[in-house]
């Protein structure tokens, strides 16, 4: 192999090595400028390269547009470009000297609730766009509801197209008040408001020259400083075993390591742990990460844990702390977002996938359906179809080791799979 050449003294000098990662999802309705905002972010942060810019210039001109349409940058599939709509979740990447960002760009049409839920499931922050001319509309409420349902830690409301309302403060203030009451009702904790013009770039990367009444950060400034460190659960140690490592070699003959990703809390060498199912106790002998040994491990690290005594552990087992056990149960109540055109079958059998375990379940009942425009509970029509959100109860064939989704997004989430098609048909958040 070729030896690497490194100029001295260390790579740290060129920076970037100590950046944090922030994942955010963007939601908005069809014409509120979401793609333009993303195009603007990528362009102004220089994540759009010349060849991509030339390609969208060519495409804009061939479609008769007078100016370059930054939205074309995010339409990846042929059908999307032809129809001028976004069909699927698209992932975008850019970085500033402070942070690396991953955008899950989700389409805003009513029928694509499922994509919004998908994008929201891994996000630290939700960016909701509101057209300044229209204010808070039904779709805004729906996006806010999904952000709260999926427990996205931070919500950033961008009041866009401020240029079309003469950059008026009272327009912005009225929308802030309107959305504020929605946020209170949904118990959204951390909300931020920004007046922007994605098209002109006001308050996106550069501060606006038209709104001296606004003294807050720009969009990028805010996204660079949102606290993301506390977004994981560091209180309840949970380690779903993903894979058992047993080397077939003389050197590591007795090695038995449990590979997985820490789903909650902090694990330390020497710590007393309980292994589920079974409830046998052991002590953490070592935490391995490649050839390194670690003193502790926390979310979202992928490590290998070794225990001091031999216990029967396989994929689907969970290592937890003594004195801090998850709920162990088979009758589970959850909120579900239905993702498939074939409706949920009450008394139907499905597969559930939860952490590293997979098992059959039976849907017992639909408690209520949510009208996501009014946020009311609907009890007179309990049919759950594509894009519906409902509270249901299921019974699993074996006990599940879980926490509520509010407490832990990793051990509180599950997916429902239709065994006949193998497709993912439901996204569940345990209550």
């Amino acid at each position: 192999m070729t030896e690497n050449k490194t100029s001295q003294p260390s790579g740290k000098e060129i920076g970037y090595l100590d950046m944090e990662l922030l994942r955010f999802t963007t939601a908005g309705s069809v014409d509120d400028g979401k793609s333009t905002l993303i195009g603007r972010l990528l362009y102004d942060s220089k994540a759009i390269f010349e060849d991509q810019m030339e390609a969208i210039e060519r495409a804009s001109i061939s479609r008769g547009a007078e100016e370059v349409n930054l939205a074309l940058l995010t339409d990846g599939l042929r059908a999307e470009r032809e129809q001028g709509i976004t069909i699927d979740v698209a992932y975008r990447y850019f970085a500033t000297p402070k942070r690396k960002f991953i955008i899950a760009d989700t389409p805003g049409h009513i029928q694509y609730t499922r994509n919004m839920v998908t994008g929201a499931s891994t996000a630290n922050a939700a960016v909701i766009l509101i057209d300044a001319r229209n204010g808070v509309i039904e779709q805004t409420r729906r996006h806010a509801y999904i952000a709260s349902l999926l427990q996205i830690p931070h919500v950033v409301v961008c009041v866009n197209k401020m240029d079309l309302v003469d950059f008026a403060k009272d327009v912005f203030d009225a929308i802030v008040a309107d959305f504020g009451s929605v946020a209170t009702k949904l118990a959204i904790q951390d909300v931020h408001f920004l007046p922007i013009s994605a098209k002109l770039g006001d308050n996106v990367v550069e501060a606006s020259l038209h709104m001296d009444w606004y003294t807050g950060p720009t969009f990028i400034g805010l996204m660079e400083t949102l606290p993301v460190g506390g977004d994981h659960n560091f209180d309840d140690p949970r380690f779903p075993v993903q894979y058992v490592i047993r080397p077939i070699s003389d050197q590591y003959h007795d090695y038995r390591g449990y590979a997985g990703r820490v789903a909650g809390g902090i694990f330390r060498v020497g710590q007393e742990v309980v292994v589920l199912p079974g409830g046998l106790q052991s002590t953490i002998e070592g935490i391995d990460f490649g050839s390194e040994s670690l003193a502790s491990a926390f979310p979202p690290q992928s490590v290998t844990i070794r225990l001091s005594n031999e216990i029967d552990i396989s994929r689907g087992s969970m290592i937890v702390a003594v004195g801090n056990l998850p709920t162990v149960g088979q009758e589970i109540e959850l909120m579900v977002c239905w993702l498939n055109a074939k409706p949920l079958q009450v008394k139907g059998k499905y597969l559930v996938k939860h952490t590293s375990s997979e098992m059959r379940c039976l849907v017992n009942e639909v408690v209520y359906k949510v009208n996501i425009n009014t946020l009311d509970e609907v009890k007179d029509d309990l049919s759950v179809g594509l894009n519906d959100i409902a509270r249901i109860t299921i019974k699993t064939v074996k006990p599940l080791f879980y926490d509520s989704y509010k407490r832990n997004r990793e051990t509180g989430s599950l997916i429902i799979i239709d065994e006949s098609t193998n497709n993912v048909v439901g996204a569940g958040m345990i209550i």
Binding site: N4, D18, D75, Y91, R99
Partner: protein, 301 residues
């Protein structure tokens, strides 16, 4: 207060290791595709870390177009030997000889597209139920919509408008007989992340990525290396320049960049300052606006 944050590279690494371990746990006969380029090298190093001190529990497979940079093959064989990893090689030339694939004609002829035939044949022959690839979502707009676990029907095809939902870290690898999965463990990495990680982990790279003198010629604004099977058009002339590869693939369509970058730090600075995407030098993507989408639907990497 205990330190409970990790930097973006460690977070991406943790995610990729998780995905690779899911593949080993969920599939009976997975394979990791290896091209000799930086992405597949990084993916392989992540796999080693995922299962250490055990060996990587799946083989690597190289779909060889026969139109390689010599250094790629040397690096590949050396890597397999030093790490004790099984390296399967399947040749596009064999597909052509058997009449399964037809060589393109003309000056821009490339075997890039033909790799799909050889790859799908190899998956069927060796009964692989999952093939991991080093594709990244930031590479190209059709890739931006790809799942980590990407389902392929019995013809090996991708249906981008009807992908399975993928939520949280719950990856669904269930499939019917004859179908398979493509899994992309480094989906969320950018070109910059890959280079920073190579630097952080000090991963040895093929010499092609560093500046060297090479005989090249310029076609449609892209510098290409000369080779016996490359025909020059009238007006094109071969000359010696200081170049390096930004991506490594089939020699017929891998553009090289004029560069004096001789260290990982210099490469990172060059990537940071670059105003053209790495695939800007890839003639295979320039064929049409939907070139990548079309190739992926057929079963390309």
């Amino acid at each position: 207060m205990e330190h409970t944050t990790i930097n973006h590279l460690r977070e991406l690494e943790a995610e990729s290791i998780f995905v690779i371990r899911e593949v080993a746990a969920q599939f009976e006969n997975p394979v990791m595709l290896f091209s000799g380029g930086k992405d597949s090298i990084v993916m392989f190093y992540l796999a080693r870390k995922a299962f250490y001190p055990a060996k990587v529990p799946f083989p690597l497979m190289h779909i060889d177009t026969g139109h390689n940079f010599e250094e790629t093959i040397l690096y590949r064989d050396d890597l397999a030997e030093k790490t004790g990893t099984r390296m399967i090689v399947r040749y596009v030339q064999d597909s052509i000889d058997k009449g399964r694939a037809v060589e393109e004609k003309g000056v821009n002829a490339s075997r890039n597209v033909l790799q799909t035939v050889t790859l799908l044949d190899a998956i069927e022959e060796l009964k692989f139920d999952c093939a991991m690839g080093g594709g990244r979502r930031d590479e190209e707009k059709a890739r931006a919509k790809e799942r980590f676990f990407s389902h392929r029907d019995e013809f090996g095809q991708w249906d981008p408008k009807n992908q399975r939902p993928e939520l949280w870290n719950l990856f669904n690898g269930r499939k019917h007989i004859g179908e398979h999965f493509r899994v992309f463990p480094i989906s969320n990495w950018t070109e910059m992340d890959v280079w920073q990680y190579i630097l952080m982990e000090n991963i040895p790279m093929p010499s092609l990525y560093y500046t060297h003198e090479r005989e090249v010629f310029c076609r449609d604004g892209v510098w290409l290396a000369t080779a016996p099977f490359m025909k020059l058009k009238p007006g094109e002339k071969a000359e010696i320049r200081q170049v390096r590869c930004r991506t490594i693939g089939d020699i017929t369509c891998t553009g090289v960049t004029l560069s004096k970058a001789n260290t990982l730090e210099e490469i990172i600075q060059e990537v940071a300052a670059s105003r053209v995407t790495e695939r800007g030098g890839r003639a295979d993507d320039k064929r049409s606006e939907a070139a990548m989408e079309d190739r992926k639907k057929e079963g390309y990497f």
